[in-house]
């Protein structure tokens, strides 16, 4: 069996395992779908308050419902990229299964990809539901290239996954108290413009706060996706956020893999691999 087939076989094993675990909690699966419908419906009613009141300079916010559900769908995806590995590691540690997984001849990169795979399958479905419910029940329309939007989605998710690998390294060594989760988990929705235009940050809170917004990858990812899906912009017009994301990725991905390898070695030295 060649390397790629082996990798895919292992990723499939993780996805199958997580699917089997998920369907063992059937009610949770349907409740999650229902909750997405409730959120979209609530946002629709809130958007009615602002109909026709948006300023022309906030071009992405002419239809606030479209901006919100795009923001939520994408944020959902980004947060999974960020948190899925740390969650998987914590879950394996607390269940006591991490040792038995690491006893198999599986490499660290495979573990990283495979243990997050199911979360991405699930979040793709959930993100799709946000957009689908918006289109089906509330007439939200999308324009531009879905392929380009998808490229932004993948790129931003990879950047966040790199931060997620660092977050998992913290989980591996320190168990709790992860600073990445604090900054990205709670700060992303606020700083990256999920619920309001980021221009308002500099106008209301000053340039220092606006600079924080620029340092967060989700800001660039969300901006790129909205430009494509809501404003219908093409590749040439969205080059700037795309290059920014590529820069983030080229620094964070190798760094995070190095940090994770060190974290596993440290946990083995301390004998704390299965402690939680």
């Amino acid at each position: 069996m060649n390397g790629l087939a082996l990798l895919l076989g292992r990723v499939r094993a993780f996805v199958a395992r997580d699917f089997q675990l998920a369907v063992s909690y059937r009610l949770d699966f349907f409740m999650r779908m229902l909750s997405i419908l409730f959120v979209v419906t609530t946002l629709f009613f809130i958007s009615q308050i602002f109909t026709g009141q948006f300023e022309a300079r906030f071009t992405q916010w002419r239809d606030p419902l479209a901006a919100w559900i795009t923001g939520l769908a994408v944020l959902n995806y980004f947060m999974t990229g960020f948190s899925s590995l740390a969650t998987a590691i914590r879950s394996e540690q607390s269940q006591g299964t991490l040792e038995s997984v690491l006893m198999t001849p599986i490499g660290v990169p495979t573990l990283i990809i495979a243990s997050s795979a199911w979360d991405f399958v699930l979040v793709t479905f959930h993100s799709f539901l946000y957009l689908f419910f918006g289109w089906l029940f509330f007439g939200v329309t999308y324009q531009g290239s879905f392929l380009l939007a998808f490229m932004f989605l993948i790129l931003t998710t990879l950047v966040l996954a790199s931060l997620g690998i660092m977050s998992a390294s913290f989980a591996m060594v320190f168990k709790r108290g992860d600073p990445f989760a604090l900054i990205l988990g709670t700060g992303s929705a606020f700083f990256s413009g999920v619920f309001f235009p980021t221009q308002l940050l500099s106008e209301v809170a000053g340039s220092a706060v606006a600079n924080i917004s620029r340092l967060i990858p989700t800001t660039h990812g969300l901006d790129g996706i909205r430009r494509v899906l809501i404003q219908g912009q093409g590749f040439a017009e969205v080059r700037e956020p795309m290059m920014t994301l590529l820069l983030f990725l080229s620094i964070l991905l190798p760094l995070s893999l190095w940090v994770f390898g060190r974290a596993v070695r440290r946990a083995k030295r301390e004998g704390s691999l299965i402690q939680y």
């Binding site: 292992r10 089997q20 675990l21």
Partner: protein, 370 residues
């Protein structure tokens, strides 16, 4: 089948010395390279964030020295026992071999692969069955659990199905195949752990108390299975840690006694017993003679004899060297005095005596931190 010559190794241990192996047909040859080679391994668990705690002058616990200068080799196809009380270092040593913990000093290799440098290769060589029930996914069935791990070991779907069917039959788990792991009895969970360890047909098997929760019949068949692994072709090397010393005696060609992180002795079970306890207690039950007569006849001949009257019999206990003629003399004297011998039982030293003996002895390493 290989018959290993006794190699008495008492402190200082030199378990890495090549041993001569004699075959049933009389051939001898130098021993094959070891399956597990442990060379001067020490492990001290560091204090997490020690430097940070030192900087802030926070109180930190002392580092825990779990292993010290452990050196031993396990030959291919050997069932090797590791005994010691709780906290002696057995689990740490097993985890180092399994690449789950890194040694502070020294090196461990499995079939020539270094456990630190060639982790993935080592993991392909070994199967570990621990007594930890939490190492499975409780909401998944037996088949789902085994399939997941089989795929991680690199078996394709068809090979995984065939191997799992084989193992389910071997461990009598077939009727429970679709039951969730959490619904299994403790004994069946234990069997699952051993079945999983065998998924990739590893040449080296690490077993941590494999019969701990099994009923006597299941334990017996598990022991038979472990014994058969060493005789299979190609042979499986087994490192067995257990608190069941009778099991260790039954299965293991050689046993290492570990205490306070150090190997205190390493030899065949019979040599360990012989080295540790030179005298044996012999209990005789006799009738047709009074206690007064028995004492009168035996006391001048045998020193330290005990005679205790029971209902219609006498219990006579004497202490002797295993090969002296004291028992012969005692039996002849009693029969000459008109006694009938009802039963005779010699109390052999057990591995428990060996273990207790080493635990009572002070650890020679004067500067051990524990």
């Amino acid at each position: 089948m290989l018959v290993q010559s006794p190699a008495s190794i008492v402190e200082p241990v030199d378990a890495s010395a090549p041993l001569e192996v004699s075959f049933d047909d009389g051939r001898t040859s130098a021993a094959t390279p070891p399956a597990i080679d442990i060379s001067v391994v020490s492990k001290t668990y560091p204090v997490p964030l020690a430097r940070l705690k030192q900087f802030f002058r926070l109180r930190a616990k002392d580092p825990v020295e779990a292993l010290r200068d452990v050196t031993l080799s396990v030959r291919r196809g050997e069932v090797f026992g590791l005994i010691g009380r709780n906290g002696a270092g057995k689990t740490t040593l097993t985890k180092i071999i399994a690449t789950l913990v890194q040694p502070t000093f020294g090196a461990v290799s499995v079939n020539g692969y270094d456990t630190v440098r060639d982790e993935a290769s080592v993991r392909g060589q070994i199967g570990l069955a621990s007594a930890e029930e939490r190492s499975f996914y409780w909401r998944l069935t037996i088949v789902q659990n085994l399939t997941f791990f089989a795929r991680l070991y690199g078996l394709n779907a068809r090979a995984a199905r065939a191997r799992i069917a084989e193992l389910l039959a071997q461990f009598d788990l077939k009727p429970l195949a679709l039951r969730r792991f959490g619904e299994l009895s403790t004994g069946n969970k234990q069997r699952m752990a051993v079945a999983r360890a065998l998924l990739n047909s590893p040449p080296v098997l690490l077993l941590d108390e494999p019969t701990r929760s099994l009923d006597p019949l299941a334990a017996s068949s598990m022991r038979a299975l472990i014994g058969s692994l060493a005789e299979s072709d190609p042979p499986v090397t087994v490192l067995l840690t257990s608190h069941n010393l009778a099991e260790i005696e039954e299965l293991c060609a050689r046993v290492a006694v570990i205490s306070q992180g150090r190997i205190r002795a390493l030899d065949t079970p019979s040599n360990l017993r012989a080295l540790h306890k030179h005298q044996e207690h012999v209990h005789l039950t006799v009738r047709g003679i009074t206690a007064v007569t028995a004492r009168r006849l035996l006391a001048p001949e045998i020193e330290g004899i005990e005679v205790i009257p029971r209902d219609n019999t006498l219990d006579i206990t004497l202490i002797r060297e295993p090969i002296d003629d004291l028992l012969d003399k005692c039996v002849r004297t009693l029969i000459g005095g008109g006694a009938h011998i009802v039963s005779c039982h010699a109390e052999r030293a057990t591995l428990l005596d060996v273990l207790e003996g080493y635990e009572r002895e002070p650890n020679n390493a004067g500067d051990t931190k524990r």
